[in-house]
Each structure stands twice: as structure tokens, then as C-alpha cells.
Symmetry: D3
């Protein structure tokens, strides 16, 4: 059970409804997932978080599918069950195939392994990497 | 100072040299970075890790640049200084621009934020996400 | 199912009962939560952990409610389901309202975001911050 | 060296200067720390992040000092060197004493310990905690 | 529900069956756990991961039981529910008693606590530790 | 620079000196490392942490070397620079060879990899693992 009661559309005030409406319009969907219904308990957090997500996830020099896969990579690294579930769904909607999921998670696993090898051996950063921008 | 002395090419045995040679050939470079010189202290780890990285990072259904950006996203999430430095360099070599770096880190930051909001509010996974593959 | 059978009061030896009694007295409650029943399988861990928690969480220059909110902030960052559940309950008992929970998690989310931006961009620590105590 | 060149006030465009000005005015300071100079390379990230931080860190039902201490608690948990340095400084400016720092870090340490005991023992969430809001 | 359908032995192709057979032979068991059935969806990941695990977990200068306990220590630190469950079972098969589990988790908890105290206080690495190999 | 001035033996009060003396006697050394000098700023934290570490790290059903290696495994997973340095030194004093360090870090790396594969694929815990104690 979530820490605050989820806010359903029917019970929402105008500030929350405006965010829900924009969310469904932007995504082309007709429902709101539980994450946002929890945030809606505190409308400023709902509005700020949604506007930030909308801005950050919009296609730019990186396309929408790649952004969703990066989101999933971070969520798998942090072991966030809700986020893995929701961003796997989002990445699939954006075009991620089973093979792409497998390759993505292989990279995530490998990065998590070599991160600890580098830290555990206390490897010095190469001068060339320090200088590089 | 690293926990084990780095193994330079000149001092390496044939097993380590074979890996170093394959690494430089595969990457089209003429030097070995400190991470591998530390692993070389234990040749089976060097060989296994390199072969795994080579297999995982090869372009497949996900291209090489995207894979490097995912590697960087994981390393930034884990706050691994060496890995952030080396994979920023690798991603730039593969074509990542300043604008792409900025968009990538914006997604990484946002994912780390919403991961904690989802966990902190104990949000239930939506039935649609559970069912989705 | 936990990795060890929980130790109920009725089945506990005198060393465990003494800790349980002190815990209920200190907290003004009449039950023991599952965390302690697991630790009770190894009485020295139960006793040491309880005495440490009791000392650390006692009001001092920081009040009890703030300490509980910090505990929850750490648990949300680590994504520990049990700990989020138990410390949300503890913070509420100490006076945390829905609005405070929302503000707390907003700070936790923001800190987790900017932590990765600072690491990902490899930002140098400002001289003024190094010098500051 | 950071991954992008820091943007100094003298070299900044009007969009970045507007954020820098608001930041110094809000904080009552006359300098910009390195974190923001890195973000300024991508003005939309600078603007969005600053506005979010300003909103989230403003005193509300939780006071400014407590919010800074929570920020520091998260940064210590994530082991983010830059963030620990900058938010220790910010918390001290807001009134954190040495004794408060010690008590804060004691809670952070204890929470990180018991988080792993709860996870490691696979403790079931108590029914009372599930039901509680 | 996992993100990909688990691959059962009866439905597996020869490449996957070869790995499953080697796994059961190496472990002296007659079943495959869900982790591998998920990886089997992408046979190269299954094969590479199994061969790496088999090599890394084989007794060497560190015995098999100690290696399993280290695996469990990492999994508890990362709060990975599946991994804690599977490696608790593996460690028990290798000889870990209840008392050993309790001592192991006590070390894991303590290390997670002092890690944050060291980071939070920004403790300088002692010269003797820098020099030591 | 640490967040609080380190407390040297010569400047320490009797409560801190008593801990320092016990620490040097227990370890058979004649110096105090920086971690404890930072904690000494808050004597109750120094005393509580030292007594906990002494109890937890004493040989029991798990020997002292294994405990030090587990401490190092956790510290590498958390990427705590100070802790990796100090516990590598401690493990070496307790008998860890270069080969053992290499095998230890290989297990740590592998566990961090498979932890993310298990989470990322949302693998269901096998019934046999749930039932097992």
C-alpha cells in the first residue's frame, strides 16, 4: 500500500486534472499510472516532476527510445521495481525489442561489474582521460 | 596508488600480451589504459573481462555509441570516478557531442530522482505493467 | 520468508526478553516488529543493534522527528522496502504529516538527481568548500 | 577536470546570467559554485535544475536547515564527494553545528547498517506497517 | 512477471540445453533456477554469464563457501531480493550455518555504516594506506 | 580536508584516549588512522563505533581474514575510497595475497553484474528459494 492514498481523476482538483490531462495528451494514452497518482497528493511536486520529465524525455539530440533505455538502465542499476516495470513498458512502446532489452541489460550488467573492479583496485585515472573533454 | 602494480606491455607475459594486442587492434589504438593494466595482474580476470566487454559492447541491435552512453549512465549513477572518465572519453570517440552528454546526464539525473520518489512513496506496480512483456 | 525463523517473545531466552522489554518500554508499545525478531536469532547482534539505535535515535541536538525523517530519507535512497515501511510509520508516530512526507521525498529525489549531475560532469570541488569546516 | 568547460559569468549569455543573478539574489551570495557553471553549458538544464532546487529547498512544513541536513544525508549515502562538500557548507551556513553534524552522520550510518540487515535477512513487512499511512 | 518468458528445458534449443546440462552437471542438481531461464532468452548472454560465473566461483585461493558468502554480502548491500534468496540458498548448501549468516550480515551492516561515516566526514586517506599494496 | 578537525592523541581527553589505547592494544599497532580521529570529535560515536567494530570483526564462526575480505567487498560495491584503502591494508595484514584479492574482486564484480540482470529482467524468486532457510 502506498504511503499516501492515490488521487484518482474523478477526485482530483483542477490543478491536478490539468497535469493529468496534459500527461494523457502528451503520451496519447487514456489512463494515469500509480506513480503520478501518488505524487498528486502534493500538487506542486506532481506539476514540477511532470514538467521536468516531459522536458527531459522529449526527443532532442538523443531520440526518445534511447532515452527510455537509459532510464531503464538507471532503474535496473538502482534496483527500483516500480521504475523497472514502468520504463520497460515505456521502452517497449517506443520500439525496444526483446533483443534490444537483452543487449541493454548486458551492458548494464557489465558496467556494474567493471565499476567495482575499477574502484576495488583503486585504478588511477589515466592522464589522457583527465585531459579529455 | 592502485592495489596492485600495473602490468606494462614490456613486462607482460604472452597471455597478457595477447589480450593487449587484441584490445589495441579492436579499438584501433596504440595504448592500454590503467584499468586493464591492473586486471593484468590476474591474467584469467583480464582475459575473461576483456572478452566479455568486447562481446557486449560490439554493435548489435543497439549501436556502439548508444552502448557507450548507457555505460556512462550506469557509471554516473554508481559515482565511479574512473569509469565516468574512461567512458566519457569512449563515448566522445564514438560521436557523443556536448549536447548529447547534457541530455544523457539530464535523463540519468531525472531517473535517479523518480526512482526514489517511487520507492519512497511505496507505489504499487500497476497491473498493466505487471502483465506487460 | 525470512532467512531465519522469527523469535517470538514466548519462545525467547532471558537475554532476548530483556532487549524486547527495554524496547517496548522505551517506545511505549506492546509489540515487537519483525526486524528485531529476525535479529534475535543471534542475541549479540540484537543487543548491540538495539543499544546503538536507542543511543543514536534519542533526541539530542537534533530532535526525534528529524532523526526519523533522515532515517526514511536514507532508506528511500537505498530502496529498502522494509525500512521505508517501518520508518514511515515511526516518523508518522513522531508527528510527520502528509505535507512533510511530500517535502521530505522531494528533497530526497532532488538530492539523488543532483548527486548524479555532479558526478557525471566530474565537477571539481570549489576551493571554498574544501577549506570550509 | 570537468567534462565540459565551466561557464563564467563574464562569458555567459543572457539566459545563463539571469539564472546566476537569481541564484545570488536568492542565496545572498556573490559567487557561483562549480556545479552550476558545469550545468550552464546546457542552459535548459541549468534553468530547470535551479528552479526545481529553489522550489524544493524553500522552507515549508520542513525548515531550511533540516532540508539541508537531509540533502547531506542522501549525499553521504551515495558517497558523492562534491555534494557532501557543498551541502556540508550549506548546512553550516544554515546553522548546523559540529554536534548536529555528528548526530546526523550517526543516524545516516545506522540507517545504512539496518537497511542491509533488513534486506539480508529478508524480513517480511509487518502487517501493521503495510496498513499504515 | 519477468520481462521475457522463461525458457524451459523442454522448449530450449541445443545451445541453451548445452548450458543447462553443464550447469546441472557442475552443480550436481536436476533443475534450473529462474535467473538462467530469463537469460536463456538471449543465448549469448546465458552462455557468457554462466561461463563467467563458473570460472569465478570455482574454488581457488578462496574456497567456494567464502565466495558464496561474499556474493551474498554484495547482494545484501545492493538489496537485490532475487540474489539474496538464491545466494542464501547456495551458501547454505556450501555449509553456511545460522551463526555464520548472522556474523556475515553483521559485518555487511557494519561496513555499510562505516562507509558512510568515512564519506560523510570526508576523511583523508592516510599516507600509509596510499603507499600500501 | 575532513569536515571536522582530526583529534590527535596528544590533544585528546580521557574518554577518547581510552578508546585509542584499546584500539592500539587490540590491533597491536602504535598509531590511529584518520577515520577514528574524525569520529573522535564526537566521543559517543567514537566509543560506540569502535566497540561495535571490535565485537563484529572478532573471529567467531567466520575467521578474521574472511571478515576483512567481506568488509572490502562491501566497500568496493559502495565505491568508498577511504574504506577500500583501509580495508585492503587490513586484509593484507590478515593474510590476503594478490591472488586472493584478484579472486575476491572477481566475485564482487560478478555479483554486481548478476544483481542487475536479476533485477532488470524482474526474475521471480523460485519457490524453492522462498521456502529455504
Amino acid at each position: 500500500m502506498p504511503s499516501v492514498p492515490p488521487v484518482e481523476y474523478a477526485d482530483a482538483g483542477p490543478e491536478v486534472r490539468a497535469v493529468y490531462d496534459d500527461m494523457m495528451r502528451t503520451r496519447g494514452t487514456d489512463w494515469i499510472n500509480n506513480f503520478w497518482k501518488a505524487l498528486a497528493h502534493h500538487p506542486p511536486t506532481l506539476k514540477r516532476t511532470w514538467e521536468s520529465v516531459k522536458e527531459v524525455m522529449a526527443p532532442g539530440t538523443i531520440d526518445a527510445l534511447t532515452k527510455e533505455m537509459v532510464y531503464l538502465a538507471v532503474s535496473a542499476t538502482n534496483n527500483c521495481e516500480y521504475c523497472i516495470a514502468s520504463h520497460t513498458a515505456a521502452a517497449r512502446r517506443a520500439g525496444m525489442t526483446d533483443a534490444m532489452l537483452a543487449e541493454l541489460l548486458a551492458v548494464v550488467g557489465m558496467a556494474n561489474e567493471t565499476n567495482r573492479l575499477a574502484s576495488g583496485y583503486r585504478v588511477d585515472v589515466d592522464e589522457r582521460f583527465k585531459a579529455a573533454r
